[in-house]
Amino acid sequence: MIAPFILLVDDEVTFVKTMAKRMAERNIETIMAFSAEEGLEKLKTNQNLDVIVLDVKMPGMDGLEMLKRIKTGFFRTEVILLTGHATIESGIDGMKLGAFDFLTKPCDIEELVSKVEEATKKKRAHDEKIKDAESKKILSKYES
């Protein structure tokens, strides 16, 4: 599988930077954003992003709001929520909004990597389906 391409969104700069380095060590291509607004900008310019690892609680726009915008903007990128609230409630709220999964801070890097890979597979499988559907559509137009 081609290495996943992910966006890390968190207002904790140190956390994001270290996380990015660790992801790179695990052959995951990572870009960073330090707010939800910046994250949305990065998403627009990097539409091939597989997964966004998104912190829930951030100043300004929070993670759940950004998730809503991602889902209403028809981006196919999967979202994994990362929450400092060590409870399942915020995670469940996120799942209801269409998040792939959620993890609580501090999380195990291997667990996160595993989730990222699963989400990437799902996203890419989805991409494939769409691509196939579009190909079939073009082919059917051509044949007709």
Binding site: E12, T14, F15, T18, M19, K21, R22, E25, K57, T83, G84, H85, A86, T87, E89, T104, K105, P106, C107, I109
Partner: protein
């Protein structure tokens, strides 16, 4: 605390005493006034009745005695009227007349005699030899000469025995003569003695000079002066009866007197009785009424004391319950504050912890590179990093519990079987296989489902079992979990035979972050969480613990309202 209890006890006693005194004053004053009035009226009425009765009795006796005397006088008058005067000078005729009188009236007439105007008894019939007896110097004769008929005072006379004389004066051949008879004193005396009431009530007759005309027993001898004083001071009432009271100088006894005039006011019939005896019925009634009043008052005081004691007891219990509720409210408030604080800080704590763990993870990643593999302290660094990870996870667990504690209504309320939860929890705990600890469950099969959160009840039981296991420690022991159905609650009892909780700590065990466990072994939130859950469910949680004997937690969860 002990001083407070003593102060409360003293306060309660003072309150009871004051209340009893107030009620007694309020109820007793009217009762005593009414009782006093009734008794006073009754005494007056009794007094009037008694005196009326005695007056009537004295009046009748006076009439009887007067009738007796008048009848005897009429007997003599009739004798004079029914035969020739000359015959009466014949002793045999007089003897016959005496015989006839004695036949008719018994021994009342002792003798008969005809006395001429010079005081010589010309004719006599009787047991004594009094023919030609000289009465010209006798006082009675002098008095008798002045009246058509006469009744003398009692005197000893020639026969040296008390007697009295009745006489009727007539004129024969221009000269006075009189028919005289001696009246048997015993027969007359009986009339007065007949009037006896009780031990101290008796009657006697006095003449105007105060001389007794009837016999007196020695023990009843009244003072002559007293009677004279009495007659002069006594009140005259109906039928000419005198009434009065005197105090006997010799023994200080109160004596009541009633007197009536006899024999054309020459004699006085006196009746006397000790007041104490005359009014004995009244005094007895007063004593009975007093005793009843006293017993009634005593019963009222006892009942009031008992009732107020009960009221105070109930009030004290209510105060205690109120105090307990206040404490629970404070506890709940404390929990809520801690909950809010926990929710606010959990995220803030998790973020730096996450960074620390992340950085440690990054060092771990770097150490895997070749250039670091030869490092002298590699193993020590790896151990330190592992420790950072472990402690990071511990922080995470703590914040997780803090957030569980802060959670409000995030659990699903459903119909749950308490016995089933107990079974599951005992099953989970057993699997952990604690050395030397046995967990027993005793379930009441009649317990119906209740409304609650399964996970929350599980959490309560797990927390309590974990605490029990810690309390039992390595020495081994047992944990009993019992369920029972009560009127309003389902009771779950978790009991261990562990080390127990010191009395001083029992009030604080539900406080958040209160723990007696070693650092790192407990965070002091377990029982606070239990307390919060039970209170949210509308239940109760109580602890009973004795050092070295064990601890019992009673959890009461409300039954469904039917």
């Amino acid at each position: 605390m002990a001083q407070d209890r003593i102060t409360n006890k003293l306060h309660s006693r003072k309150f009871t005493r004051n209340m009893v005194l107030i009620v007694i004053l309020v109820s007793f004053i009217p009762m005593l006034l009414v009782s006093g009035m009734v008794l006073h009226q009754f005494s007056n009425s009794y007094n009037e009745k008694l005196y009326a009765h005695l007056k009537e009795m004295i009046h009748r006796h006076a009439q009887d005695i007067d009738s007796f005397l008048n009848e005897r006088l009429h007997n003599l008058q009739f004798m004079l009227d029914s035969c020739d005067n000359v015959d009466l000078f014949n002793e045999s005729v007089l003897q016959e007349k005496l015989f006839q009188l004695q036949q008719k009236y018994g021994d009342v007439f002792e003798d008969l005699g005809i006395i001429n105007e010079k005081g010589v008894q010309e004719s006599y019939a009787g047991r004594l030899k009094l023919e030609n007896a000289q009465y010209s110097k006798a006082k009675w004769f002098e008095d008798a000469l002045k009246k058509p008929f006469y009744i003398s005072d009692v005197f000893l006379g020639l026969r040296s025995k008390p007697h009295f004389i009745i006489s009727v004066k007539r004129v024969y051949q221009g000269k006075y003569f009189m028919l005289r008879s001696t009246i048997n004193f015993e027969a007359f005396n009986f009339l007065a003695e007949n009037l006896r009431i009780g031990n101290t009530g008796f009657a006697f007759i006095l003449n105007r000079e105060g001389n007794f005309q009837t016999k007196l027993h020695d023990d009843m001898l009244p003072s002559k002066k007293s009677y004279m004083d009495f007659i002069s001071a006594g009140k005259k009432a109906k039928h000419g009866i005198y009434i009065g009271e005197l105090t006997d100088d010799s023994d200080g006894k109160h004596i009541i007197y009633l007197a009536a005039l006899l024999k054309n006011n020459d004699w006085i019939l006196v009746y006397q009785q000790e007041k104490k005896e005359a009014f004995s019925d009244l005094i007895r009634t007063q004593i009975i009424a007093g005793v009843i009043l006293f017993i009634g008052a005593l019963l009222i005081v006892i009942m009031l004391s008992f009732l107020f004691h009960q009221i105070i007891k109930h009030l004290s219990e209510a105060d205690r319950e109120k105090e307990m509720m206040n404490r629970q409210i404070i506890e709940t408030g404390k929990l809520a504050s801690v909950g809010r604080l926990a929710a606010g800080t959990a995220h803030e704590i998790n973020n730096p912890v996450a960074i620390m763990v992340q950085e440690a993870g990054w060092i771990e990643d770097l150490l895997k590179k070749e250039e670091f593999q030869e490092g002298e302290n590699l193993q020590e660094i790896e151990r330190a990093l592992k420790q950072i990870n472990t402690q990071g996870k511990r922080c995470k667990e703590i914040t997780h519990k803090l957030l569980s504690f802060a959670r409000k209504t995030d659990t699903q309320i459903q119909s749950v079987q308490v016995n089933k939860i107990v079974e599951e929890v005992v099953g989970i705990s057993d699997k952990k296989s604690y050395t030397g600890i046995t967990i027993n469950s005793y379930k009441d099969q009649t317990i119906p489902p209740i409304a609650g959160s399964q996970t929350e009840i599980q959490q309560i039981l797990l927390n309590l079992i974990n605490n029990a296991i810690d309390a039992i420690g390595k020495k081994g022991g047992k944990i009993d979990i019992t369920t029972r159905l009560e009127e309003r609650f389902v009771l779950i009892v978790v009991e261990d035979d562990g080390s127990g909780i010191p009395q001083a700590n029992q009030d604080r065990i539900f406080d958040p972050f209160f723990t007696t466990k070693a650092v790192g072994k407990g965070n002091g939130l377990g029982l606070s969480i239990c307390f919060g859950i039970v209170k949210r469910m509308g239940g109760e949680i109580d602890v009973h613990s004795t050092i070295d004997i064990g601890t019992r937690f009673d959890i009461r969860l409300p039954r469904n309202k039917t």
